[in-house]
Amino acid sequence: MTAVQAKGLTKKYKAKTAVDSLDLTVEEGELFALLGVNGAGKTTTIRMLTCLSKPTAGEAYICGHKTASESAEVKALVGISPQDTAVAENLTVKENLTLAARIYGFSREKTEQRIREMTELFNLGEVLDSRAKTLSGGWKRKVSIAMALISEPKVLFLDEPTLGLDVLARRELWCAIESLKGKITVILTTHYMEEAEQLSDRIAIMTGGKIHAIGTLQELEQISGETGLENAFVKIAESSMGGASV
């Protein structure tokens, strides 16, 4: 079943086109990476898919629901962890998780159950009663993702989930994200090649608001004629700047 579909999705800000006629299909349970440099249009794409921004043209569907006209249904199906850590700073980790569950209408019992599950998944036990503002960047990011996941979304959007984290925190977060594989659909944006390579089932290479190639690592290597994601990315990105789509 298709979890996410975009057809000709476009976003323009006056003269600037942030996302240009994007076509995309992500299947249920897939871990899909939007890989691109800064300003490629990754965050704008995620904003349109999560009803945070209206497309200038084109359509997007989440589990068959159109984002433009069925935003309430779409919002109930998606979870997002924005690029900037989105936690309530004066609340404890447990209170943040409770807030995220309650706004999705979870009962007290269900909320407690989901908090236990998130605590286990992200190893949050030791910080559960700590206020968010006292946590390191890595912990905050884990809490932010746990908040996105607590509502049992069908599709989880992670916008640059490991940006600014040290190598250990990054690896730990990768383990948590990898454990979601096959359980829910995950779309993550990143500009780290290693991250896309390590985590994703399929990767879309995005520059200048356009997707220039989509496929598994092997398929991208085949398309570009290069070995390794970094080389494949550079080749495809350079070709796209020259105007040709690989």
Partner: protein
């Protein structure tokens, strides 16, 4: 309702865990109550200045304390709007009405508690000073009379927090707090001043709120209605305005 309660609970915790909210909303007004009561002891009776008498001061100080509620509402909203936290909530099933109620209701509860503490301190002061100028019935009525101006301040906080960022919003609130104190006749007798000053005071809700509360404390109920109606009108207009502006800003953020 679940969403409003969850969001209200978050907002009330954010406020209660900020030590500055205690200093400004409770500490500062109570210190002013003590200072002005001491000043009043030094004013000779023949000066016929009754504005610092505890029964008059209590109403003014209570309104003065409420004005800081605007500052903290404004700060909460503007901080949320500048960070990614609101982005997360915008992507959730929360609607604009949930946000508006979630911001306003918990602060209204806090404002009510603030009023009770403020008047309780005034009642205690009358006992200490050996005066018999305030009674529980008048105080309870005064609290009711000040609720519309509490709503006005909360709505103003939501309005300014929606319109301005967290750097400029506090400055604007400070100006309004100063105006509310001066034009509310908290520390000067606006009626004796008369002229344009009284006209300006009469045009704004602060003076009417203080006047209604002072009349309530004195249990002089004949003229209370007009003052209550004026503050109520301001509360309604600002609540509607704040809701409209918040909705329109939310729509713009999601455009």
């Amino acid at each position: 309702m679940n969403r409003i309660l969850a969001f209200s609970s978050r907002n009330i915790k954010e406020l209660l865990r900020d030590p500055l909210s205690y200093i400004f909303c409770l500490g500062f007004p109570l210190v002013m109550l003590v200072i002005m009561s001491i000043v009043n002891q030094s004013i000779p009776a023949e000066a016929n200045m009754t504005i610092f008498n505890i029964e008059n001061l209590s109403a003014g100080i209570a309104m003065f304390g409420l004005s800081f509620v605007m500052l903290f509402t404004c700060l909460t909203v503007s901080k949320d709007r500048s960070g990614a936290f609101l982005t997360r909530l915008y992507a959730s099933p929360m609607r604009s009405a949930d946000f508006i109620a979630g911001y306003m209701l918990p602060v209204l509860v806090l404002a009510l508690i603030q009023l009770v503490i403020s008047f309780a301190a005034s009642l205690l002061a009358t006992v200490i000073l050996g005066e018999n100028t305030m009674n529980i019935g008048g105080v309870l009525l005064a609290i009711v009379m000040l609720l519309p101006v509490a709503i006005f301040f909360i709505a103003a906080g939501l309005l300014f927090g929606s319109l301005f960022n967290e750097k400029s919003a506090p400055g604007l609130c400070s100006i309004i707090i100063s105006l509310a104190t001066i034009l509310g006749g908290v520390f000067f007798d606006a009626e004796s001043a008369g002229g344009i000053m009284l006209d300006v005071c009469n045009a704004l809700p602060f003076f009417h709120a203080v006047k209604a509360a002072r009349l309530a404390v004195a249990l002089q109920l004949e003229d209370i209605g007009v003052h209550l109606l004026i503050t109520l009108a301001y509360a309604v207009v600002f609540s509607v305005l704040a809701s409209v502006v918040f909705r329109s800003k939310m729509r713009a953020d999601l455009a």
